[in-house]
């Protein structure tokens, strides 16, 4: 029964809707930096996800209207669209949403039963299958929202015409990689310091750094909105950021040259989207308070490990998926002492 008397009473639908609202600033910032292509991409993700959702619901013989209305597949699609770089063609988008909706969500039993975060499954599938595209670059967007921009992006998505700017790595006029983390990964081991001396590259780097900073900050704003509305609980984001901060700080002080500074970790790559949007997905995280903190700590640690010591630039997807794997274990072993029993 719905009661008007309680503060903060949400239904599943409302929760998902608020998440969508909270992701608006991030969408706008990404649009500003990378052009309309982001918007088109997200739209395509939403269309394909809903399509797959309807098909699979039909096959499973469920009530289509009720299940579509819970908005969860739209949230998955938007998060997926925000986290991948804007260089995919339409069939990759289809491929990714197929894995996200059908395999990760409905083959496990639909909303509430899935073990893995659907968005991250879609992302990981893309990352494994098309690593080149996933770490590709794009030009700085100069003709924002002009007709040119629209045509270029449509060409890019549907026909993959502007291939030339995807695969060039050493052209100084183009940002080399999707994220500065990737850039750092490629250059740091051997010649991080020398490359920094190159002034023109340095300027570029500052621009790209700042763009990712702004995107992360906009995610942070959305996250604070969610926190304010009490949709998500503060435990996961803060424990995640805390553990990432602690580990990278320790490491930073041991080897200042090789390792980037902790603040750089915070505002680059997908840190904030992970902290506030992906890792807080209710279905695939632990429901108890202590479990949430443990989950956050684990993810933070894994992100730090993957970023610093593995070949993948941004370890968000794999660490979240690994954390999801551990969640059932955490849930099974955590117990609260009820009322008046011995405290555990």
């Amino acid at each position: 029964m719905n009661l008007p008397y309680i503060y903060n009473h949400y239904s599943v639908k409302n929760i998902m809707f608020f998440v969508l609202i909270a992701s608006i600033p991030a969408i706008l910032t990404e649009c500003y930096f990378f052009g309309v292509v982001v918007l088109i991409q997200i739209l395509l993700f939403i269309i394909f996800s809903l399509l797959f959702e309807i098909i699979i619901l039909k096959i499973r013989g469920k009530n289509i209207k009720n299940n579509i209305l819970d908005n969860s597949s739209i949230v998955t699609a938007v998060l997926l669209g925000l986290s991948v770089p804007a260089t995919l063609t339409w069939w990759m988008i289809m491929f990714s949403s197929f894995f996200a909706i059908v395999v990760a969500k409905h083959l496990y039993g639909g909303l509430g039963q899935n073990i893995f975060n659907p968005a991250m499954v879609g992302y990981a599938v893309l990352l494994i299958s098309f690593p080149l595209y996933m770490s590709a670059c794009y030009k700085e967007n100069t003709k924002l929202f002009s007709l040119d921009d629209v045509t270029i992006s449509i060409n890019k998505i549907f026909f993959q015409t502007s291939k030339s700017d995807v695969f060039i790595d050493n052209d100084p006029d183009i940002f080399t990689k999707a994220t500065p983390l990737n850039d750092f990964k490629n250059k740091s081991r051997a010649s991080y310091n020398t490359s920094l001396e190159n002034i023109s590259l340095k300027n570029k780097k500052i621009i790209i750094f700042s763009s990712w900073n702004y995107i992360n900050i906009s995610f942070l704003l959305g996250g604070f909105f969610l926190l304010y509305k009490k949709i998500i609980c503060w435990r996961i984001p803060f424990s995640f950021l805390f553990s990432l901060f602690i580990f990278s700080t320790i490491n930073y002080f041991f080897s200042t040259n090789l390792i980037v500074c902790p603040l750089f970790h915070f505002f680059s790559g997908g840190t904030m989207i992970c902290a506030f949007f992906i890792s807080t997905d209710p279905v695939t995280t632990s429901y108890s308070n202590i479990g949430k903190i443990i989950f956050g700590l684990i993810i933070g640690f894994l992100v730090y490990i993957i970023r610093n010591y593995s070949d993948y630039p941004d370890g968000i997807a794999f660490s979240v998926l690994f954390g999801n794997m551990i969640v059932p274990l955490i849930d099974d072993f955590l117990k609260t002492s009820g009322y008046g029993h011995k405290k555990i």
Binding site: I6, S11, V12, N14, I15, N66, G112, D331, K335, G340
Partner: protein, 523 residues
């Protein structure tokens, strides 16, 4: 007014939920009286009521306040709410359990309201605690907060054991104002009641717990207790649920009542404010408990009124008097907004444990709330006031994992229903919990029964053994312990088995030998 704003410490507990405040002014709450109905239905429901405990017969005249039943150690006597004629006594066993007998006594009022002679006591300090407890027992005072536990028994247990009396003025539901109304009108009498209780059980402090939004009342109480060192006022945060005794203790002391014990065992005696008032009336005025204050909460316009109602007034009459004409259009709930238990029988009457009647207009539900499956969000975990994991309990009880449900402490759930209210998937959690609790209880009784039978069996065995030793005392060659160990049969059967095997072996050997011989012969 400003006095209370200076209070720093507000007692609080973990979990719980904030509710929107009532928009009408709290000062408006006064007691309304309603006239007496023609017929009273007095329901007597005790587990072990025997029929010979009834004190009255059909067609007997009773006076107001006359006891209708004898009490025993478990139950208190029940009194006639008005003077009149006993028309009918019905026995019907309740559908919930066989050993729960329900007796319905119908009294026709003669509108004279003649009382029996009341024995007033002016100075209760002349009496010993035991005799005061007897008076309270004879007046039929039970816990009026909904617990229905006999107050006299509670007092008896508490003598020389408790150090603090907690007077519970915290409404268990945010929209019930019965307790507030009572305090507003009878504050002095409540203080006398507190003193009586402190005289009986020799407590050292009296805490009056009250919620923070009753500002006027708090300042009033503060003025009254200024030069009484015994009293202390504790202000609670306005939250649901705060009225349960478990939670009051937790908020006051920060500790839990250990499992299987009562608050008395750790030195706290908790009384509802209405009970305190009833005790005062019982001791000083000699009045038995025949009336109580009931809140009427109307969902439509947030109207809340309080009525002083004789116990036994049919709810039907109550509604008719309020000009709620077409009863079929309304849903009547007993208990507050959260505890809403729907009432089916409109002829049911106000009993001692009803403190709120909630009236809702019946609406045909056009939009059914969609039930999603649990999305694991953990909102329920954050609000549970007794530190349980409702989601886990839900899964265990849904899939009948009784062992696991028990080890997650399902029996501690106080059925406050907040977890259900905050659940975004609209899962009726408490329904599952209630069912699971019934099953757990059955399992418990089953285990107990098994233990008992096993005990009986062992005793019987021992007895038989004894008899046998007596019989065979003189025959030393007979070893009777072997008989008792069930091993005789086993041994004999084993022997037979071995014999059989050997015989079979021999036969097989024989066949082999003969075949070999035949082969030799052929060669």
């Amino acid at each position: 007014m400003y006095y209370t704003l200076l209070i720093k410490k507000k007692y609080n507990f973990s979990g719980g939920i904030k509710c929107l405040s009532i928009n009408t002014e709290l000062d408006n709450y006064i007691i309304n009286y309603i006239p007496y109905p023609k017929e009273f239905f007095v329901h007597v429901k005790y587990n072990t009521l025997k029929k010979n405990m009834l004190r009255v017969k059909i067609n007997q005249k009773v006076l107001c306040g006359e006891p209708l039943t004898f009490g025993d150690c478990l139950s208190v006597p029940i009194h006639a709410p008005t003077s009149g004629l006993i028309k009918n006594i019905e026995f019907n066993s309740n559908c919930f359990g066989i050993n729960k007998e329900n007796i319905k006594i119908t009294i026709i009022s003669d509108y004279l309201d003649q009382w029996i002679r009341l024995k007033k006591i002016n100075n209760y300090k002349l009496y010993s605690p035991q005799s005061l407890i007897k008076i309270i027992y004879r007046s039929g005072v039970v816990g009026l907060g909904g617990a229905y536990f006999s107050s006299s028994k509670k007092l008896m247990l508490s003598i020389n054991k408790v150090h603090t009396l907690v007077v519970n003025a915290v409404e268990s539901d945010p929209y019930i104002t019965a307790d507030y109304c009572l305090m507003n009108n009878y504050l002095n009498e409540i203080f006398i009641g507190c003193e009586i209780i402190s005289w009986i059980s020799k407590v050292k402090n009296i805490f009056i717990v009250i919620q923070e939004d009753k500002i006027k009342l708090i300042s009033q109480i503060k003025l009254l207790i200024q030069n009484k060192p015994l009293f202390k006022i504790c202000i609670f945060k306005k939250k649901y649920p705060a009225g349960s005794s478990k939670i009051i203790i937790q908020s006051l002391t920060g500790k839990d009542i250990p499992y299987g014990q009562h608050s008395i065992d750790i030195g706290y005696l908790i009384f509802n404010i209405a009970t305190v008032y009833a005790i005062k009336r019982a001791v000083i005025n000699g009045e038995p408990l025949i009336q109580r204050i009931v809140s009427l909460y109307n969902d439509k316009n947030h109207l809340s009124k309080n009525f002083l109602i004789r116990i036994g007034t049919p709810i039907n009459f109550f509604l008719n008097y309020l000009k709620i004409k077409n009863n079929l259009d309304y849903m009547i709930y007993i208990g507050g907004v959260f505890m809403n238990n729907i009432l089916i029988d409109l002829n049911y009457s106000i009993s001692k444990d009803i403190n709120c009647v909630l009236i809702r207009k019946y609406e045909k539900k056009t939009k059914k709330p969609i039930n999603y499956s649990c999305i694991n969000c953990g909102y329920c975990v954050q609000v549970c006031p007794v530190n349980l994991l409702p989601q886990k309990l839900y899964l265990h009880s849904k899939y009948n994992h009784h062992e696991k449900a028990k080890s997650s402490y399902i029996m501690d759930c106080i059925e406050c229903k907040i977890c259900e209210k905050v659940c975004p998937s609209n899962i009726p959690l408490v329904k599952y919990f209630k069912r699971e609790k019934i099953i757990q209880n059955e399992i418990d009784t089953e285990i107990k029964r098994k233990k008992m039978f096993f005990n009986h069996f062992q005793q019987r065995e021992a007895r038989i053994l004894n008899q046998k030793t007596i019989v065979h005392e003189n025959k030393n060659d007979f070893n009777n312990t072997n008989l008792m160990k069930f091993s005789v049969l086993e041994k004999t059967s084993k022997k037979e088995f071995v014999n059989k095997q050997e015989i079979e072996k021999n036969i097989r050997k024989e066949i082999l030998r003969s075949s070999i011989e035949r082969a030799k012969l052929k060669k």
